[in-house]
Amino acid sequence: MKARGKFLVGSGIIVVTLASLAYVGFTQSKTYYHTISELSALQGGALRQRMRVSGNVRTGTIERLVGSVNFVLEEQGKALNVSYIGRDPLPDTFKDGAQALVEGRLSSDGHFIAEQVQAKCASKYEANPGEAPAVARPAQSSSLTRVPAGGRQS
């Protein structure tokens, strides 16, 4: 029974260490999903969290400036001004009317500062109603193009 006791103590140490590492990793990387309408209701610390917001790019609002690309996301009548400051080129799917998912933080004036933009266009892969029954997304694919901002990832 002695060996068993030692084993349990060892296991306990390992589990506690891993759990604390997990907690640290979690607080560093958690990202909240919000809808545009939810943003206005956020208060205090919740405003400074890292978050993801999705919506459609309002037609005619894409402005390409030096150092940023500005556009307006809209969803259910609510709008959000976004500045993309990442240095990677935007995906080709990012166009007027495209569905976009932006990740970043809210600035104090309510502007959304996006570090990453993913965009999905109405791809030919989507089934047209009445055509193919539920043609699903292929296993390893997307028209959701990844734009990892900030370079190094592994």
């Binding site: 060996a3 390992i14 997304r137």
Partner: protein, 688 residues
Amino acid sequence: MDIFGSFALILALLVAVYAFVAGIVGILTRRPLLTRSAANAGMAVFLLVTLAVASLEYFFFTDNFSMAYVAAHSNRALPAFYKFAALWAGQEGSLLFWSWLLSIYVFFTLLVNRNKHPELMPYAGVVMAGVQIFFLVLNNFVASPFNVLASPDAAGAWRLTAIGDGHGLNPLLQYPEMVIHPPMLYLGYTGFTIPFAFALAALLGRYPGEKWIHITRRWTMIAWCFQSIGILLGAHWAYAVLGWGGYWAWDPVENASLVPWITGTAFLHSVMMQEKRGMLKVWNVWLVFTTFMLCILGTLLTRSGVVSSVHAFAQSSIGNWFVGFLALTFVVCFWAYWMNRDYLRSDNQLDSLVSRESSFLFNNLVLLAGCFAVLWGTLFPVISEWVSGSKISVGPPFFNKVNVPIALFLLFLTGVGPLLAWRKTSLDALKRNFAWPLAGGVLTGVVAAIFGFREIYSLICLILSVFVTLTIVAEFYRGARVIAARDGTNLLAAMGELTMRNTRRYGGYIVHFAIVLIFIGIAGSAFNQDIQKEMGVGDTISIGRYSILCQNFDRVANNNFESERATLEIFRDGRSVMMLYPERRFFLASQVTETMVAVQSTPRHDLYVVYAGRSPETGRPVIHAYLNPLVKWIWFGGIVLVLGTGLAMLPNRRAALVLRPAPKKSWGEAPSGASPVGVVARASDAHD
């Protein structure tokens, strides 16, 4: 022909149902004929599903665009190679493909064991048929690949229609690896059904002894090997195609393929505890059950869009079927366990903390902790939405923080575990086995630190890698020296002989070495560099020892895609070494743009160059260059892993057959293997 395929599928379902019902009745009434008939039915399912697959492939190759699935995933200009692979490009086809691979496994399991284990096989047959029924129901009624396109005519009646050309295969899939990656991964996923069937069968039939463990271990190794290949090919595909410079992003679908691999790995280790010491019986049964359920969960994650991912984008109701099947599986497993839990009583207790047993226990503990962490992180958006109402996702820092220490601890155990004795290891044995490898590892670490190698995890990884490699080399050397001294052969031949006499043990060491190689490759990522710049003709960027000169931009077109291409001259230390041609391809059928990465790979590092697109401000081309050290070691490690696993599956060679040259085979003479000559000493299994 669509009728033909559908008919084959419905027949396959009926035959599987027969195999299931007749199997149960055969067990209950103890009628051998009925049991035999059920097994034959199980094998017939393979034939029928094969016909369905052949029928669907026929539509692809004949460009039959009245078939919904073909129209959605192929087009006329698609190369034949990819028309074949389009079978698994979408949901319906990949589920059919899944059923087919499963039926292949079931066929061979039934074939290999048809006259063996009469108390175990009927149960296993029933379990396998049960799993097949589930997938065939999906194939027939939920996601049929044989739906046709139809539109209403003037009178309102539905008429078969065809479109002129299909929508084309998703460009991301038009890459040679995508032709082999999904089949490998699916062979892994489906392969775990066989160990599952044997575990459940042994439990239900209260099959005496540990015999089922031996059968299961080999099938687990097959599935595990395919799963490993599938995961690595997937990583390589992500690296070579997605163009973001990395190979693993902790994407939900990547994670989904990793978790059953982890539990499968845990099982392959803990199974030895049961074989040698009669311990961990409950644990092992549940590991097999869990692995199977994680495979189903993996399919659920890929297919249902429960968590968003690059892979899984569809919001599809098929998820409910998988949730239902998962719940049913769990209930059946738990019931089987509860009814037969006395059958799983352990024979022994842990004797010492410094023993083989405890190294296996720690191995299993951290593997399962890693599995849990990956699963938790993957499902966190779903869990947090249930619990708190807000959807929270976690990113790579979470996964890396937990899994890097786990991986390093496992690497440590890889070196230590195999050399510890069962029950208790003496201090002397510890010194004898570990003094030199440990000294070698630490020395390497010190030297590396002096030369400015300061990334702590990578440094630990380096020390442990050297340590583990030295323990493995020492093991081969010690064994081979004995054989060489006795037989007078040279050391290298003696190593081969040693390996073949105990394939399981030495094959296992080779797999461990492969893991070391893979870990070294991963540790290299701490030193990745990258640079991105707008480039015109004549511009240069520098990264590490390389500088990249932009020579030209041009356009290439064929009837599948149009591409923009950069011609780059690469200089290393000022000398011109090669040309690289990163591209962006615009696929005509699907109207999608993809990057084609140009990689110059050496064992030391990969120069990885991406044509990233055009600058939003100036419209000029942007080139993104990465210098990723040691990546090639990962792929090389993968090859070694497959070789090692293959070796471990071979039967042990008998000593006598090797020591003497085999007599020449001629007509009328018995084959050499049938007449053992000399002393036949079986290599001892006692050490593995």
